[in-house]
Symmetry: C2
Subunit: 334 residues, 2 copies
């Protein structure tokens, strides 16, 4: 159903978004949200923009688009060991939006806002002659001095990553369906293909890792632009580098099977982006405690290697002990 | 200079935006900002999206585009009586961006961030196949229970507005230069034309009114979508209406002269949007104190009328005592 009568911005907000508003959102009837910061906490603020055709497909399910927009921000909060407090939503809608599309978008967003206890606080809705563009600003809270920074890696720190790497990059290739990828795509089971597509569509923010990060990590960031590039960023800020054995990179069964068919996929797996896993650096003396805390929280973590003082990007070492060469190490925004 | 070598997102942030970062922005080296809320204050959060071709012209000076994006948010904070704390910037850049354009954008933004003591805390920069899109989330602080709501108008409250109304709407018409507008455009002096263009280009957030609002106003909002529509919104939330004499609407000399040439402009003046003045409701017993406080702060305020219980939008009464009919009362987002 394409809407016929003009929807005013107020109608649109009252119909689709006011039901998602938290107390601080003032029923979205004001221009602003009012928030009482949790006592004794510091606030962590993060903002990600998502553009149709760049960060998602415009024909992805609207609820999944909404959830991804929120979740990529929650992933940033998770990496800082911050608890979600709420979010603001900026929505630039192209002219062909429909009430049905927006209702599904709001329903997906509302489910995640409830599940992650991260209510909508406010925002802005405008029209655009361009693609659908979504801007989420998420607010988190963390005990004073407990935010885990990106730049805190020290020499000898163990580098860990959560979950599995590369699934979303392969899921994106599946969506794109290039001729060059038909060899491994054709060999995938339906279950594997579904799993990889879903990993691209719907990130899983690792909020349950917060306690382990706060307790034991020197540094953390989420892997959004590719493991190789993001690890390089985190290490470079501290004047560190690392040599990572490829065999240590945690792979899902689906990714492992795709890689068996097409070994060249190792580069996409290491550099493809959209993982939304957490990379962190833990001092050796606390590694066992970190692993135990992560296990207790139900988050799988894998040891990739150790940080060492040095220049240059981390190297990735194959089974023969040779560093692989990558054409690019991360998703290039520009 | 069009950039030739690819700029990574990190280079771009380090070059153009890190110099604007406040302490909480962590030199923009993290994915998130860390903020210690001012003790005893509540936080006011607001977010506005601006799209090239909708909210500004893509060939406006880049510094002015940046300043407008920040100032429309500061205007929302001003209306809530909140002091700016900082902002996050989301920037979706089309493929043809140049380093020169971005340097000018960042310079304008930095000037305003410094002048308004509202440092950059963080954000996100992405590419878009569509028009330049800017998302600003501004954070303000206000003493507990002192935020001025939009929905607090009471019967008998005096309705005030700051500054002058309609200048930006006429400035936009000047920029558009439609044939139908040539009568009054041709009759304008260069000085008047320059003034009106500037009022469209560069809003003046009325932050100096904060004390007067906190002290004396029941309700406030900024006028961004047109006086008639925005006043209607504020009154409707409280079950109020009002009859406003057109003669009470504050006009600049330039707007007055344009209106003399083309009396039909009264509708654009009342409904055109982009004023970024503040509408507020003040109880009669405090009207004199409010006026004195505004004058002491150097902000001109004009009494428009009084709120009365009732349904329906406010009416605007001409010199003959007749309510004028408007085809539309505000900028229509959809």
């Amino acid at each position: 159903m394409k809407h016929q009568a003009p929807f005013s911005e107020d109608d649109l907000i009252a119909t689709f978004f006011a039901p998602l508003a938290g107390e601080a959102g003032l029923r979205l009837r004001d221009d602003a949200a009012l928030m009482q910061p949790p006592p004794g906490r510091e606030l962590v603020l993060t903002k990600d923009l998502l553009v149709a055709g760049v960060h998602f497909f415009s024909d992805d399910p609207p609820g999944a688009i909404a959830r991804k927009a929120l979740r990529v921000n929650l992933s940033d909060l998770a990496a800082k060991a911050a608890e979600p407090v709420g979010f603001l939503l900026g929505l630039a809608l192209p002219a062909d939006w429909t009430a049905q599309w927006l209702a599904a978008f709001a329903a997906g967003l509302g489910e995640d806002a409830a599940n992650y206890r991260c209510p909508l606080l406010g925002g802005d809705t405008v029209k655009t002659p361009g693609p659908l563009t979504i801007s989420v600003t998420a607010i988190g809270a963390v005990e004073a001095h407990k935010m885990v920074p990106r730049d805190g890696v020290r020499a000898g720190d163990r580098i860990y990553v959560t979950g599995t790497i590369g699934d979303a990059a392969l899921g994106l290739k599946l969506r794109q369906g290039a001729t060059a990828d038909q060899d491994w795509i054709g060999a995938l089971s339906d279950a594997d293909a579904g799993f990889l597509r879903d990993r691209y569509l719907l990130p899983q923010p690792r909020l349950a890792l917060r306690g382990a990060l706060k307790g034991f990590a020197h540094a953390a960031m989420d892997v959004s632009d590719g493991l190789a590039g993001d690890l390089g960023k985190m290490l470079r800020l501290a004047g560190m580098t690392a040599a990572i054995e490829l065999a240590r990179i945690p792979l899902s069964g689906a990714a492992r099977r795709a890689l068996q068919t097409a070994p060249r996929l190792i580069e996409a797996i290491c550099s493809g982006g959209d993982d939304y896993e957490i990379l962190c650096a833990v001092p050796p003396a606390k590694a066992a405690s970190f692993e135990a805390a992560a296990a207790a929280a139900g988050i799988g973590v894998s040891l990739l290697g150790a940080a060492a003082p040095g220049e240059g990007p981390p190297t990735f070492i194959d089974a023969g002990g040779v560093a692989i060469q990558m054409a690019r190490t991360s998703f290039q925004h520009f």
